[in-house]
Amino acid sequence: MSKREFISIDRLSQRFDLSDPWIARVISRRPKQFLDAVDNVSFNIEKGKTYALVGESGSGKSTIALTAVGLLRPTGGSVLIDGHNLYDRTQSQLEHRRIRRRLQMVFQSPYASLNPRWRVGNILAEPLRVFSLADSQSAERRRVHELLEQVGLSISDAHRFPHEFSGGQRQRISIARALASRPEFIVCDEPTSALDVSVQAQVLNLLKRLQNDLGLTYLFITHDLAVVRVMAHRIGVLKSGRLIEEESTESLIESPQSEYTKMLIRSAPRIGRATTGTSFP
């Protein structure tokens, strides 16, 4: 492994036990049932790059997202962040905190990702307090204002509640919160799939600008190949928990190898195909 591989997901497996209770199994004589939501998936992400995981519902992409930020202990394999094993039980509390600060996540729903009872300022300040990143109240306030400006909101927005914002603005707040602890790695779980097209472009552009400015590394989870094309350096295609194809963006989309990837690309709706006008007088 070269040193540039900042994130390393190694033979990751996530197996869920869906069995009935034992008494039910005894009666119906069924064996234990497992769901391999993620099955032996390995990939690396270089520092400052975006790796996209593409798949349909049930492909395991969101499970990998949760595993990669430390919210879901894998049943097999490991997640290495800059050489530190995220799920190493021998780690001290302090070391663990140190790694946590470097990972963040942007979520799908602009509605559920912000606590409706908290003011935006408090939402952004919480990571600062937890990781003791601001020595004084005024430093905290300065940082909150800085974050708001970074994502294109105004300073006065700190006093408002999430419900006063539109979906796109909320997603900006969510991004600002993710940036608060100055992380290096951000997992973006379908960050624009709940947004309207005209707003989606704003958020995607913002994410790209932040990557350039701050040198962020992204794991980008999506079902939308068109979005991936302009966002990712590399793409992995997931199907039923397995990584079936992995390539640099251009070669994957231009010359896909697996039938599944071909089918996905074929069924992606595209504007240029508007030809029906001829079939109807």
């Binding site: 309207d196 094309r229 302009v230 350096h233 069924s267 508007a274």
Partner: protein
């Protein structure tokens, strides 16, 4: 003009609210021709679903059609009483909703729901209705052997096929499909749209396809209407509208949609700044002017009318 099936004239829907009325649909006019698939595209809250609900007479309380007319052929349907509305609904106009999971009654078999619909509208006996239901299932690609299955025994895509069979059961002339594939995976979406298109073409039924996805519009529809903040901003032949959009909003919408066919990591997507105004905070004049790069001084003062049944913008006056 005998080839026009549905004609909507100056439709205005109002929801009374304590800070003044909310107007989710304001002065919308359009025609649906026999046998065509017309798309309605716009962001959430633009009024596209409400348009469908208004035609069906299914606007939720306390909303109401304040003015305007809706004609189905030579019948005016926006003022019908419940009894006559039932003769139209399902029989002449049918509707498909977004979520196939919740569109079907979980406690009744799909067969029962089909037979019930057929018996309501067609002059057939129970046996004939059942036979018709079985044919309907086969047409949408569902094994007729599953006639007695409950909705929860089907996958999402299959369920939406059942919904289509139900919507087509009484051979309606117009089907309003409200985001019929939004809840489905891309690969399933393509199949379901193809099926809907095929069945409607066979029956020469018209479709109003409501969606937020320009790609779906491009691949499915003959004509398209673009809605923004409760108003119709542009309408026209799909191919020409997509290749040469006129309204600044339509232009922006198309330009900001990423494409699987081109672009790379260095691509800066075209973006329309800001977001669609909420109904309780509509700007004066043209609702789009705060986000419009080509706005003229008068855009702030007056609402542009739809010119030549094509575009509502002062740039083309």
């Amino acid at each position: 003009m005998t080839d026009i099936l549905l004609s909507v004239r100056n439709l205005r829907v109002v929801f009374p609210h304590r800070h003044g009325d909310l107007v989710p649909i304001d002065d919308i006019s359009f025609d649906v021709k026999k046998g065509e698939i017309i798309g309605f595209v716009g962001e959430s809250g633009a009024g596209k679903s409400m348009t469908g609900a208004a035609i069906m007479g299914l606007i939720d309380d306390p909303g109401m059609i304040e003015s305007g007319e809706i004609w189905l052929g030579d019948v005016r349907i926006d003022q019908l009483d419940a009894k006559r509305l039932i003769k139209i609904r399902g029989k002449r106009i049918s509707m498909i909703f977004q979520d196939p999971l919740t569109s079907l009654n979980p406690l009744k078999t799909i067969g029962d729901q089909l037979v019930e619909t057929i018996l309501t509208h067609l002059p057939v006996n129970a046996d004939q209705a059942k036979r018709k239901a079985l044919i309907g299932l086969e047409e949408v690609g569902i094994d007729p052997g599953r006639f007695n299955a409950y909705p929860h025994e089907f996958s999402g895509g299959m369920r939406q096929r059942v919904v289509i069979a139900l919507a087509l059961a009484a051979e309606p002339e117009l089907i309003i499909a409200d985001e019929p594939t939004t809840a489905l995976d891309v690969s399933v979406q393509a199949q379901v749209l193809e099926l809907l298109k095929k069945l409607c073409r066979e029956r020469n039924a018209s479709v109003m396809l409501i969606t937020h996805d320009m790609g779906v519009i491009a691949e499915t529809t003959d004509r398209v209407a673009v809605l923004y903040a409760g108003r119709l901003v542009e309408i026209g032949n799909t191919a020409s509208l997509l290749s040469s959009p006129r309204h600044p909003y339509t232009r922006g919408l198309i330009a900001s949609t990423p494409s699987v066919e081109h672009g790379d990591i260095s691509t800066h997507l075209y973006q329309i700044d800001g977001s669609m105004p909420r109904l309780d905070a509509l700007p004066t004049g043209c609702s789009f002017h705060p986000r419009c790069q080509d706005a003229l001084p008068r855009c702030r003062l007056r609402q542009p009318e739809v010119i030549n049944k094509s575009v509502a913008c002062f740039l083309y006056e």
